[in-house]
């Protein structure tokens, strides 16, 4: 009789351990997903701020008309791009990076730096660009962590990730305008 009881307890113990492990893993996945949605929201906010800084530069009257138009157009594309990160969004952000790089030639940068308004706008723009880089890097780190975690068999077998779609890294050229960094 006591042998049966100890077997029952052993089985119960194993079940409890399995249950604990599963709920612990589920909590881990959930925590990662929370982190992921946070980094994505941060990236979104940073991209909007970069586009706004670009619009500000385009409207400042410090650039020539043609360059202003190119820049304003690229910034508008970025602001109007669909909120979820897909190929269209990445293309728009790529275009904005390129437009900023084209607009800010060494001559333009040095003439902008000579006026207080220009210095102000450039400062905001370069800090916005740096923050886009950080936000994208941190988001992609979170994506890597989530994807690695979700490849494990426990999570696939017990469907611990629920219906959350598998995340993808966000890829676009986020380099700061070449002549803006060189002080």
């Amino acid at each position: 009789m006591s042998e049966v009881l100890s077997w029952v307890f052993a089985v119960l113990f194993v079940l409890v351990v399995i249950a604990w492990y599963l709920s612990y893993t589920a909590a881990r996945v959930d925590r990662l997903h929370v982190r992921l949605s946070g980094t994505l929201a941060a990236l979104d906010a940073r991209l909007v701020r970069r586009a706004e800084a670009a619009v500000e530069l385009a409207n400042s009257g410090l650039l020539d008309g043609a360059t202003s138009l190119i820049l304003a157009n690229a910034a508008a594309e970025s602001l109007e791009a669909p909120a979820e990160h897909g190929e269209a969004r990445e293309l728009a952000e790529n275009d904005l990076t390129e437009a900023l790089d084209l607009a800010l030639t060494p001559d333009v940068v040095s003439s902008l730096r000579s006026s207080a308004l220009g210095e102000d706008v450039l400062g905001r723009l370069s800090s916005a660009c740096l923050r886009v880089q950080l936000a994208r890097r941190f988001h992609n780190d979170a994506v890597t962590d989530v994807r690695r975690m979700r490849r494990t068999w426990t999570i696939r077998l017990f469907h611990l990730a629920g219906h959350t779609p598998m995340p993808h890294t966000v890829e676009f050229d986020d380099a700061s305008p070449e002549h803006l960094v060189a002080v």
């Binding site: 881990r28 925590r31 990662l32 946070g38 929201a41 940073r46 923050r131 890097r137 890597t144």
Partner: protein, 390 residues
């Protein structure tokens, strides 16, 4: 912003990470942020008022060297109390993969976490063993910083994911304004060069310099070599030719002010390090002080010197090449002045004002992400589970 910084290494002994933490904390406090640092320290060690001691550190062999760390349940409780009392907006951990208070803080913390990786010599075997234990905690880090490209490679290969590279900071102005000392200033007939670092440690490269000196002295007999750093001169100079020994002056350990003055006074600062340098902050200090730098072509040094435009380089562990480059530099004052000016300009990129701004941008990004995530509704069951991982 309320910032909590955790330094895993004891404040009893000075070291690169400790200096980094101290300078960063002081700079942030100067900008008006509230900063608290948690670090191991003896009760006798005098601590700045922003540092909280996590108790006495024990010397442990870890990852191939002896580190002074602390751990154990009492320490864990201390870390928890510090976290609870601090209510930090962001927690900044240094070296999160050493068995120390950084790991304890990482396991206990709930809020936004930033981690800085300093080392470039993490052994993969250590990582493989530690991996399953530490992985769930590492996933809590939302912003990873590496102090150099080498440190970043360590993160990508061993930890996974990526890191942003933010170099160590230097107070450029402290070095730039250092007074020159006449005893250390060279003359055309008797120029001075400086070596800094632990003499007895071969990877600091003093033997390479010593091997190059006979050649240099043949061309420039009046050369004076100023050697600063801890170590026993008699032991180190054993087997050196007498003329080399006569050219060297041993200054012993020097204070920070003396170091700055030395770098500002000499004609050439030589950094013959043979390896194990992940960053080379001493080069930036020398550049800030306006010294002409001659360094071995380690990849870390090459990056600091911008591929040789902000300082001269020689082939690593090649005394012949060192001798040739050094003689050439000593004979051409205009070249030295050119390199020194380029170096001083480049050093500005590593000033604390620049570096701390980047670190603050990381804090802001991480906090913003966390705020957005917290906005989403959470069930009681979720909170209960997450509380379990606390």
């Amino acid at each position: 912003m309320r910032i909590g910084i955790v330094c895993p290494y004891s404040f009893d002994v000075p070291g690169g990470v400790q200096f980094h933490v101290r300078d960063l904390a002081e700079h942030l406090i100067g900008q008006g942020h509230e900063v608290s640092v948690l670090a191991p320290a003896d009760s006798e060690t005098e601590l700045p008022d922003y540092v909280t001691s996590a108790g006495r550190a024990t010397a442990v062999r870890y990852n191939g060297s002896v580190a002074r760390l602390n751990f154990g349940p009492v320490t864990a409780a201390k870390v928890n109390r510090w976290l609870d009392a601090g209510q930090f907006d962001v927690l900044h951990l240094h070296e999160p993969v050493t068995p120390s208070i950084s790991v304890l803080a990482l396991m206990a913390a709930e809020g936004p976490i930033v981690a800085t990786f300093h080392t470039s010599m993490l052994r993969s075997r250590t990582m493989q063993t530690a991996y399953p234990i530490i992985r769930p905690s590492l996933e809590k880090i939302s912003g990873r910083i590496a102090v150099s490209e080498d440190a970043r490679r360590t993160v990508t290969t061993h930890v996974g994911g990526d890191a942003v590279v933010i170099p160590n900071g230097v107070y450029v102005d402290r070095f730039a304004s250092a007074p020159r000392r006449s005893a250390w200033i060279g003359t055309p007939a008797s120029p001075t060069i400086a070596f800094l670092g632990r003499m007895g440690e071969p990877r600091k490269g003093l033997p390479v310099l010593a091997a190059a000196l006979p050649d240099v002295l043949r061309s420039i007999p009046g050369l004076r070599v100023l050697v600063a750093g801890p170590g026993d001169p008699d032991e180190v100079t054993e087997g050196w030719p007498p003329e080399v020994r006569a050219a060297c002056e041993f200054l012993g350990s020097v204070s920070d002010d003396d170091k700055a003055s030395l770098l500002a006074s000499v004609d050439v600062y030589v950094a013959p390090n043979t390896g194990g340098e992940s960053f080379g902050i001493i080069l930036i200090e020398a550049m800030s002080a306006g010294a002409c730098v001659l360094a071995s072509d380690l990849s870390a040094f090459s990056r600091v010197l911008d591929g040789g435009t902000a300082g001269a380089m020689f082939a690593n562990e090649q005394p012949d090449d060192l001798a040739r480059t050094l003689v050439d530099l000593l004979r051409r004052p205009e070249r030295r002045a050119e390199l020194a000016a380029a170096g001083q300009h480049r050093a500005r990129l590593f000033d604390w004002s620049v570096v701390a701004d980047e670190i603050l941008a990381v804090y802001e990004t991480v906090i913003e992400g966390r705020a957005a995530a917290d906005f989403q509704p959470q069930g009681r069951w979720n909170r209960f589970l997450r509380g379990g991982s606390r």
